[in-house]
Symmetry: C2
Subunit: 214 residues, 2 copies
DNA sequence: GGGGTTAGCATTGTCGACAATCTACCCATT
DNA sequence: AATGGGTAGATTGTCGACAATGCTAACCCC
């Protein structure tokens, strides 16, 4: 039963803009290194430059945009070192999320992740495969119910998308790594912290190798 | 030999403003729950409302300010759950930082931390003790040379300061926990990952207990 | 006394204008 | 050919003004 009568959740314009830009960056519409011209972008988004600048300050704070005074804002251009650092951060976040899940009701969490794995198995084509992989990790962090881990994760996931997009002709994401994710979900379900850690770490190491080999 | 001839690093006004506000929040000048009035604050900072709003969007993104549309921006008010979440995030970051250090030249890093511990031993009074403790953890993450961990850490350290300030009459920071930090620095110097993890985790658990018992 | 309505004021959100800065191009000089 | 100076145009940074919104106090009615 859909509730139509409920408190309005009014999102601020800069927040909406930041979300749109974050998606555009993650999906390659705004390319790494690209300068975001305020006048052009504001016209396209149908807002004035003020709120656009505000939205872009949010992305600057999270590192997706680089602000250079008097010269403008640029989409971050991820070097191989950046990729490694990003995965280091991602590993920190996801391991902490897993640990929190394991400290609580890990069995239902494992089930929820197994549901995501079942969806993964249906993914076809590079874009769907990448997104399915990301969806698993997003769900993992979401299940930890930690606002701070979730917020930090949002940024690194956008960066992950950027990397995949930048390499979409060389990045071999055509193989769904369902079994790897299933093993992780099962380890979480059964509450085995050591195995979870090992699986997550190996997963990240593998991703780093694939994204930095060019 | 000091280099005077070097590229100017011109920091943007919103960035300067965000830094100032971050410090004011961490040191209790801007109290938890407090509304930040734009006109008043802009006048005090000597800028117009535009750049102030931009700076505040940065802090909103990192969670130090809560933006409610049409009602204004408020300094985050940390509940006990927030404190636990903040330490969860901090533990994730610092453990990852330690792990990275241990994967590299951990002996000089241990020495650098022991230098900080020596400074800690000289701290007197609650404010100095808290700051000395924080300085150790900041240095730890800095030594990992990870831009992302450092950026994320900045936020949780500000939140840590907020908590300490909010509780400064009940928070017993009069005892310098030098030995605890020294043990951690020694473990890093010697390259013992299991011990480092244990010490860091225990350190965080202790801090949580102290900050959430009211 | 309590509840509802309305007006006024304070504050926030956005806009367009103007100043400041940077970049690219052209011309003159060596 | 290389270097330096000047200029125009594009873009960024900031400002003040105006519109929109929310809060509070006053007033009226039951």
């Amino acid at each position: 039963m859909t509730n139509y009568i409920e408190p309005l959740a009014q999102e601020s314009t800069p927040s909406i803009i930041a979300d749109k830009l974050r998606k555009a960056i993650g999906h390659g519409e705004l390319k790494p290194g690209m300068q975001l011209g305020e006048a052009d972008l504001a016209r396209k988004l149908g807002v004035s430059r003020g709120p656009l600048r505000e939205g872009m300050q949010r992305l600057t704070q999270e590192g997706l945009l680089i602000a250079i005074r008097n010269r403008g804002l640029f989409v971050v251009d991820m070097t191989p070192d950046d990729v490694r650092d990003m995965y280091l951060a991602r590993e920190a976040i996801e391991r902490a999320a897993a640990r929190k899940i394991l400290a609580g009701d890990h069995a239902p969490a494992g089930d929820a992740l197994l549901t995501v794995v079942a969806q993964m198995a249906k993914a076809t084509g590079p874009a769907e495969v990448s997104e399915a992989d990301i969806a698993f990790h997003e769900r993992l962090v979401e299940l930890a119910a930690s606002p701070r881990l979730s917020r930090m994760h949002q940024t690194v996931i956008t960066e992950t998308r950027m990397c995949i997009h930048a390499l979409e002709e060389t990045y071999s994401a055509s193989e769904v790594r369902v079994e790897e994710h299933r093993a992780l979900a099962e380890a979480i379900k059964s509450g085995d912290p050591t195995l979870v850690d090992q699986l997550l770490t190996a997963h990240m190491d593998d991703a780093i190798a694939r994204l930095t080999t060019r």
